[in-house]
Structure formats: structure tokens, C-alpha cells
């Protein structure tokens, strides 16, 4: 790598000269950081039920389709959504649990599940839909958090197909963004926060759904909290 070392050094030297009040050591830095005011709301105040309801309401405001089911009903719920969408070529992450696929396999003729074991991009692009799990839901903003684990898939998987079914457990839903961050004691190497389907307002501030990401977002909320 042909890196001009002088620039790095020059910039850092100039920063040092410009910041005489910088912390002298790691301890000073940590205490200055700890002293920063954080009086904003960290914890939500809603009941568990109201929290899930708020999440669902926010998702619907984004025009996402939302259905609820019990853990036992999940496979049927997935089948019902696939059947309603009429989509047959479906991709899922490599770690997708087999029970997602059992019922649908014999109820929908022509349905084809493909797990993403390093699928070529073209194949993902040509899939008609994708099903993944999630890491967290943030009710306050209706945000779905993906950390791209084996059940959530690599980033491109939930991006290219036009129809995206996300499975979110009620126990994964928090009320506020800070509550999600306090759950991330180990920050993820990759994360995607999704708040509604892809959208733009670049032409006269008119909100249009589906520019490049999936145009249709379906969320199954699994009521594992009851």
C-alpha cells in the first residue's frame, strides 16, 4: 500500500496542537466520557403487551403487513403468507430452521425453498421472496434489527428479493432504542436496522415505497411472551 505516512502524522500532530485540553491518558478519557450528561429516556414505560402493540402499529404505519401467531402456529403462518403472496421461489438463510418450511412444502404446489449456502448473487436476485429471522425489534420507531446471524442471513439476502418476510419474536421487542443498545454488550460486526420498506421522498418530498430494497415487507410477530 502506497500510503503517504507524512499526512497521517501531520494531521495527528495538528490535532494534538489544536486540542490542548485532551485527556492525558486512558483513565482521564474514560472519566471524561463517563461524566457526559445522559438524562434522556433510556427505559420505556409500556407494559409488555402495549410494547408489542406499539411495534405492530408502527410497522403498519410503514405499510408493512403484520400478522401474529403463537410459536406452534409459526409454520402455518409462514405458509399462509407465502400462499397469499403467490410467490414460489423463496430463499432463506443457511441456518433457517427446518420447521419454517415443513407445512408450506406440501401445501403449496411448486414452492421451492433454497437455503443460502453461498448462493450466486443472480440466484438471490431472481428469488421471488426471502424469509429471515431478526435480532431485535424497537417499538418506538418500528425498527427491525438484523445482526446477520445464521438465521438472519448475509446482508444481500434480505435486500435483493422484492418480497421480504421477517419473523420477529415478541420477546425480542424492546420499547426504546437505548434499550436495544444496552442489550448489545458485544457490538455486532454487521448490523442493519430496517424501519419500513425501502422508500424515497426525493421527488417533491412525496414518499414512494420500494426504490431498491424489497417493496413488500411482511412481519410475523411470534407471541412467545404469552
Amino acid at each position: 500500500m502506497k500510503q503517504p505516512v507524512p499526512s497521517r502524522q501531520r494531521i495527528l500532530d495538528r490535532i494534538r496542537a489544536a486540542t490542548p485540553s485532551a485527556a492525558k491518558d486512558a483513565f482521564q478519557l474514560a472519566s471524561a466520557y463517563a461524566a457526559l450528561p445522559r438524562t434522556y429516556t433510556r427505559r420505556g414505560s409500556l407494559s409488555a403487551q402495549a410494547r408489542v402493540e406499539l411495534m405492530i402499529q408502527r410497522l403498519r404505519e410503514y405499510d408493512a403487513e403484520v400478522v401474529e401467531c403463537t410459536p406452534a402456529e409459526l409454520a402455518d403462518a409462514i405458509t399462509a403468507q407465502l400462499a397469499a403472496s403467490g410467490r414460489l421461489r423463496i430463499v432463506a438463510p443457511s441456518g433457517a430452521p427446518p420447521e419454517w418450511m415443513v407445512t408450506s412444502a406440501w401445501k403449496i404446489t411448486g414452492l421451492e425453498w433454497t437455503l443460502d449456502h453461498d448462493l450466486p448473487i443472480d440466484e438471490i436476485e431472481q428469488a421471488e421472496g426471502v424469509v429471515t429471522a431478526a435480532t431485535c425489534g424497537i417499538a418506538d420507531s418500528g425498527t427491525i434489527v438484523l445482526h446477520h446471524s445464521a438465521t438472519e442471513g448475509r446482508r444481500v439476502l434480505s435486500l435483493l428479493p422484492d418480497w421480504y418476510l421477517c419473523i420477529l419474536c415478541a420477546s425480542q421487542i424492546v420499547e426504546t432504542l437505548p434499550e436495544y443498545f444496552s442489550r448489545c454488550q458485544q457490538p455486532p460486526a454487521l448490523a442493519t436496522y430496517i424501519s419500513g420498506p425501502s422508500a424515497t421522498a426525493d421527488i417533491e418530498m412525496t414518499r414512494i415505497k420500494g426504490v431498491h430494497g424489497p417493496r413488500i415487507l411482511v412481519v410475523i410477530v411470534v407471541r412467545d411472551d404469552k
Binding site: 495527528l12 485527556a23 432504542l177 444496552s182 448489545c184 430496517i194 421522498a201 426525493d202 426504490v211 430494497g213
Partner: protein, 486 residues
């Protein structure tokens, strides 16, 4: 950037006309003013509603302001930390002192990749260093992928806003641009159809172009994370499909810890687009095997930022998270739109950032492009006291000007020097008052107002009346009052 296009002003502060001159040109364009006002009304209404529902808005602002100040105070150590973590995660970090160096680093990286094409996520920083024309001249085809940026690129227009860069262009103008450049004769001006045209136009590019360039909204020192917030998904495409990714980032964009995003993300979307959260936020650190680009470069850009860091009052300029709330609320921006500022950073933040990035050598009229009403300070999610910096910069501009030899006989400075002599003594002050009272008596009408003054004074009375002077000065009144023993 198309300097020569008719009806356009340059966005290079070195060549742009002074603000008052450029603004006049914009004020004469009713279509542009209508487009800008409409877009701003929509954003403002949405923002207002969502900020009002956030009970802890002021607490979030205070936290954000404190975090950003803390970063600036300790910028060196946080940048080094970011560099170490990003490198450990498989990324490469480059440092660029100025625009030319950043452009060259990026071009060298593209040459190593044998890249003849590059796709881009919207980045104002790349517009700041005029990257696109440089790469095109070097034989690299650049494809913008943000809808607004496509509109600008295909229409050979310049950005007029930092979040919604094409807000000065309406749907029928977009239709005209797309129909002409994409060869779609039957396109309607329905935003949905226009958006679809862009989707189709870009899909192939995403799938085939192996190199991408982005900016970044935040860097996280603790984890080496880069954060990009967006709406359309073009960012996610660029971040996952190419094999090489280059992110150009101003050195001030770093945050101490991952958790600090909980403050910034809550403020940014609400301030920028009036949403609780933008549709997509992507975070990544370095390279992840099997997911996304396997070669990742960050170019850290100074380009004038350090000269701002060194100054006490001005330093707060660098707290900016580029949400554009200040321009959306600014009464001046609303009338002129963004191009009048002659910079890729328009509006109140542009009025303080641009001249400073130019080391106060260009764009000296921008600190005056404000009524000092303070609306920008009130909405700023990181509490930048923009009016305070505007005043500081005005003082610097005045100090520069009065030292110029050519300005020695400038009427204003001549007048101020004379006033300085007269007002230096109480005797001179009182004498001047007396003469003023006698002089103004001829122009004061029966209603007690002065409606017209001759010569230089006309500059004032052209647009507003002046109240006639009262019978007694305060000093005289006070002296009489004391004598009468009250």
C-alpha cells in the same frame, strides 16, 4: 460540477459569485422558489410533529452536544482508536490532508482495482472535494445511485440541499431529465413511475460494477464501525454487492462508543427527514468473510477541518451531523434555495462551514447571509450556536477588509474611522449629536418620521422609515432631572 451551464452558479467557493449577487439571481426564479418552499414545508411539518412527540428531545440534544464536544476535545485518540479497530477488522485507513490528496488516494485505489466504473452512495464530502469530475477526467465512469443524485447527475444540475439535494427540481422537471437521458419517451411525471425508472436503470449497475464509493454518517472509535443511514436501499446495494468499498469521511465524524449511536440515530432521522427512523441504517466494521466487499478502505479527510478545531468559538461547527434542519428552518435559505450559497454546504451551517473550510479566503459574504434570528440554533440537534459563529466570522471578515489597502478610501470604512475619532471623546459625541439633530430636523415630517434622506442616507430610507429624533437627548433629560432634584 458544471460551472458553465447557463443559469447556474458555481458551487466551488473559489469561483462562486458573492452571496447577495447569487441570491438575487435565485430570487428572480419563481419556479425554483416555489419548489424549494414546497419541499421545505413538507419536511418542516413532519419534523415538527415527530420532535414534539419526543418528550426527551432537549435531553437528547444536550447529550449529543456533549458527546460531540468530547470527541472534538479528544479527536486524536479517537481517530487512532478507530484506525486500529478498523484495521484489525480487515479495513485499510488512509489520511488525506486536503482535497487533492483524497482524490489521488481514491484514484490510486481504483487503479489497483483496474476499475473503469464506480457506483456511489450519496456523499456531500465527495462533492466537497469535487471527486466526480476528477474521476471522470481520469477515465473512470461514475454512477450516482441515490435518486436525487441521479436526477442531478443526469440533469447536469448541482445539489442545493445536503439531505434532499434535488429539492429545487419538481416532478415535471425530473420527468424531462429522465425521458431525455434514459430514452423513455412515454414516461409520466408520477413520482412512482419516475422512481421505478431509476430502479430499473440502476439494478444492472448494482449487480455488475465491482467498486463503490460512499461517505459515512458516523465512525465508531470503540469498534471501528462505519455507519450509513439512508432511505432507498441504494446504500445497502453498494455496501453488499461490490467487491471493493471506499468510504470518504471527514475526520470530525467519529463517535467514542457504539452506544453513542443511540443518541445520534434518534436525533438524525427526526431532524433530517421527519421520520422516527430512516428506512435503512447499515453498520459494519472492516471486512466480514462471505458478506459484502472483501476489500474496504476508509479515507479520513482533513481539508480545512483542523483549522476550525483550533479555534474556541468556531470549533462547535465540527459538531455538525449534517441533518440539514438548520437550512429547512432558515428564512434566508427558504427564499434563495441552496445554490446561492456557492458551496455544496448551503444554509446556516454552510454559511459558517464553507468560509472556514476555505480558511476565510473565500465565501466571506456567507456569514452575512443570515438575519441572525437564531432559528437554526434552536433546531440544531447537536446545539451548534450558529449565530455566535456567524458573528465571530463577520468580525474576522471586517478585520480582513479594513486591512486591505484598496479599502482605505472605501466609504464605509472611511466613515467608521471618522466616527471612531468623533466618538472617542464625550465632547465630540455631544457635538455630533447636536449637529445631527439640527440636520435631521429638515427631513422630519409632521408625523414625527423621516421618510426620505438624501445621498447615503437614502440607502436606509429606501426600504424603511426612520423615527425622528426626540426633543431631548437622554443625557440632557437626565441632567435636567437631576437639577430638578427628582
Amino acid at each position: 460540477m458544471s460551472h458553465a451551464a447557463p443559469g447556474h452558479v458555481s458551487l466551488d467557493p473559489r469561483f462562486a459569485p458573492p452571496f447577495p449577487q447569487a441570491a438575487l439571481q435565485m430570487l428572480r426564479n419563481p419556479q425554483l422558489r416555489k419548489n424549494v418552499a414546497h419541499a421545505i414545508d413538507v419536511i418542516q411539518a413532519k419534523r415538527g410533529k415527530l420532535v414534539a412527540e419526543k418528550a426527551d428531545w432537549q435531553e437528547l440534544r444536550s447529550a449529543a452536544s456533549a458527546i460531540r464536544f468530547h470527541v472534538l476535545d479528544n479527536l486524536g485518540v479517537y481517530l487512532e482508536q478507530f484506525e486500529a479497530r478498523c484495521t484489525a477488522a480487515g479495513g485499510h485507513v488512509h489520511w488525506a490532508a486536503d482535497a487533492a490528496e483524497a482524490r489521488q488516494i481514491i484514484l490510486d485505489l481504483l487503479r489497483q482495482e483496474n476499475a473503469s466504473e464506480v457506483i456511489k452512495i450519496k456523499t456531500m464530502t465527495s462533492a466537497e472535494i469535487q471527486l466526480n469530475p476528477f474521476l471522470q477526467a481520469a477515465g473512470v465512469s461514475v454512477f450516482e445511485t441515490d435518486l436525487a443524485e441521479i436526477i442531478l447527475q443526469l440533469g447536469e444540475e448541482d445539489p442545493s440541499h445536503i439531505v434532499v439535494p434535488a429539492l429545487h427540481i419538481n416532478r415535471s422537471q425530473v420527468r424531462e431529465i429522465f425521458a431525455r437521458t434514459m430514452g423513455l419517451k412515454n414516461l409520466s411525471s408520477d413520482p412512482k413511475e419516475l422512481t421505478n425508472a431509476a430502479r430499473t436503470y440502476l439494478r444492472k449497475k448494482f449487480l455488475t460494477v465491482p467498486t463503490a464509493i460512499s461517505g459515512a454518517n458516523f465512525l465508531v472509535a470503540e469498534t471501528g464501525t462505519v455507519a450509513i443511514v439512508e432511505s432507498e436501499g441504494n446504500g445497502r446495494m453498494c455496501l453488499t454487492l461490490p467487491r471493493t468499498m471506499i468510504s470518504l469521511v471527514g475526520i470530525e465524524k467519529v463517535l467514542p462508543r457504539f452506544q453513542d449511536l443511540e443518541v445520534m440515530l434518534q436525533l438524525l432521522a427526526r431532524s433530517a427527514t421527519g421520520e422516527r427512523m430512516n428506512p435503512y441504517t447499515s453498520l459494519w466494521s472492516g471486512v466480514t468473510p462471505g458478506d459484502g466487499p472483501q476489500r474496504f478502505h476508509v479515507v479520513l479527510l482533513d481539508n480545512g477541518r483542523l483549522s476550525i478545531l483550533a479555534k474556541t468559538k468556531e470549533r462547535q461547527t465540527l459538531k455538525c451531523i449534517r441533518c440539514a434542519a438548520c437550512m429547512n428552518t432558515c428564512p434566508v435559505y427558504r427564499q434563495t434555495g441552496g445554490h446561492a450559497y456557492g458551496s455544496v454546504y448551503p444554509g446556516p451551517i454552510g454559511a459558517i462551514l464553507t468560509p472556514q473550510l476555505m480558511h476565510m479566503k473565500y465565501a466571506q459574504t456567507l456569514p452575512y447571509a443570515s438575519s441572525l434570528c437564531g432559528a437554526c440554533y434552536e433546531v440544531c440537534p447537536v446545539k451548534i450556536n450558529i449565530p455566535e459563529v456567524l458573528l465571530e466570522l463577520r468580525a474576522q471578515v471586517v478585520n480582513q477588509e479594513r486591512r486591505q489597502v484598496g479599502r482605505f478610501f472605501d466609504l464605509m470604512y472611511l466613515g467608521l474611522r471618522i466616527a471612531n475619532l468623533i466618538f472617542a471623546t464625550a465632547w465630540g459625541f455631544h457635538a455630533a449629536q447636536r449637529m445631527g439633530r439640527i440636520g435631521l430636523r429638515f427631513f422630519t415630517r409632521k408625523d414625527g418620521w423621516i421618510h426620505a434622506l438624501p445621498s447615503l442616507g437614502a440607502k436606509w430610507t429606501q426600504t424603511r422609515d426612520l423615527r425622528g429624533l426626540p426633543k431631548l437627548t437622554f443625557h440632557r433629560w437626565w441632567a435636567t432631572r437631576a437639577k430638578e432634584g427628582k
